[in-house]
């Protein structure tokens, strides 16, 4: 599948999930959130430095998305649409925060101290921080343990963003083999990850 076809397919997935979410299916909305939460958090973290605030703003973005979803007509790609919402929400958050600081009439020296304190602050509970580290460590270890062909395939796909066709050319193998290698890699990592997630309460959010 070419890059163009790949993009078409991505749009088709989004459109299908959006249709179902607009019809009131909460699971479809959850799958949309899962699909884009990390990308949105990455965008917000360019504007907001505090990790806890990143999580809050990310949640705020998806709350706005949920409320505005009935009005989304698909004129632009879904990702383009939520990207704009994310940027605006992050900017508004910064403006609101600076207003809060201005209104509190803090002396410049105090404001500086406050800003640096915010940067240093880490609101993660030790449990959440530990869980995050556990997940990241488990994934890294599972990737390291993969056979070479599976590791190369998953890294080319997830880290380098290459299409199946490009990976097939690079690895000199059929596309079907690439598809199978990527799946087997994911499946192996998933098996390492599953026991960790089974122990955790469903509402725990890990922020690193």
């Amino acid at each position: 599948m070419t890059k163009e076809n790949n993009n078409m397919s991505e749009k088709a997935i989004d459109q299908e999930l959006v249709n179902q979410a607009q019809a009131g299916d909460t699971r479809a909305f959850e799958m949309l959130v899962t699909r884009y939460q990390q990308k949105i958090a990455n965008i917000i973290s360019r504007y907001v430095r505090d990790r806890d605030e990143v999580l809050d703003v990310t949640q705020e973005v998806f709350i706005k998305v949920y409320k505005a979803l009935p009005r989304f007509r698909g004129d632009s790609a879904f990702y383009t649409w939520i990207y704009r919402i994310a940027i605006n929400t992050a900017k508004n958050h910064l403006v609101a925060r600076s207003r809060r600081i201005q209104n509190s009439e803090v002396e410049p020296e105090e404001a500086e101290r406050y800003a640096s304190a915010l940067e240093m602050q880490n609101f993660d509970t030790p449990e959440a921080e530990y869980a995050r580290q556990e997940i990241e460590t488990a994934v890294t270890r599972a990737v390291d343990d993969l056979p070479d062909d599976l590791r190369s395939a998953i890294v080319m796909r997830e880290v380098d963003g290459m299409s199946y066709e490009e990976i097939a050319n690079a690895m000199a193998c059929p596309i079907g083999t690439v598809r199978s290698r990527i799946f087997r890699a994911r499946d192996a990592i998933d098996k390492a990850l599953k026991p960790l997630l089974a122990d955790k309460p469903s509402r725990v959010t890990y922020v690193g």
Binding site: I13, R35, Q38, Y164, R186, D187, T205
Partner: protein, 209 residues
């Protein structure tokens, strides 16, 4: 759930699935929580591999968003399985039947304690008055005669003992009047069973003698 389904999810999230299969698989994932969780975990793996060190790893935002929005928790409102779909009406009927049996049993028990004579016992069944009915002229009560092994006294004998101070004709007239006025309004009315616990009137006693 087969590996084939997982492989399809893997291909789907890479944007490499044929367009005609996308719709079908998305619908399956939305309706099957296990497939949905696989989708979530594969995205978590992606997040771990794609994020840089200074970017936060974010998981389960959807749960918190839906919670903040006050949207129902889908984990607790799973779609009913086929078993539950037919079990629900059957369970309803079962409960209704057990309530009816209990009511009949209780009705049987209470007069039985007081029976002393040898006549067959009379039981009462409350009857719903139809909402469209006109003022009732006759008491809408059915008498069901059930033969019993032990001899019993007449109904009027034990019932009057519990209500010694009642004035039957006045009460009866009042209750029938009330029932007749309310029935056409559509309110559910029950037969004034008080009528049945009154002692025999002098007229009827004279007639029977």
């Amino acid at each position: 759930m087969s590996d084939r389904s997982h492989e399809k999810i893997s291909v789907l999230m890479d944007g490499e699935l044929e367009s005609n299969a996308i719709r079908f698989l998305v619908k399956r994932m939305v309706s099957d929580p296990a497939l949905g969780q696989t989708w979530n975990r594969y995205h978590l793996i992606r997040a771990c591999l794609q994020k840089s060190l200074d970017e936060p790893l974010v998981v389960n935002v959807a749960d918190q968003v839906l919670s903040r929005l006050g949207v129902r928790d889908y984990h607790q409102s799973e779609k009913p399985t086929r078993l539950y779909r037919w079990l629900k009406p059957v369970a309803g009927m079962g409960i209704a039947a057990s309530v009816a049996v209990t009511a009949v049993f209780l009705l049987q028990q209470s007069p039985a304690k007081r029976t002393t004579g040898g006549q067959p016992e009379t039981f009462l069944v409350q009857q719903k008055i139809p909402s469209q009915s006109v003022p009732v002229q006759t008491p809408p009560v059915q008498f069901v005669d059930l033969p019993r092994a032990q001899p019993a006294t007449s109904v009027s004998e034990w019932r009057t003992s519990g209500y010694p101070s009642m004035k039957p004709p006045r009460h009866r007239g009042f209750l029938f009047q009330e029932t007749g006025q309310k029935a056409p309004t559509g309110l559910v009315q029950h037969a004034p069973y008080v009528y049945l616990v009154t002692p025999e009137s002098q007229e009827s006693r004279a007639r029977s003698h």
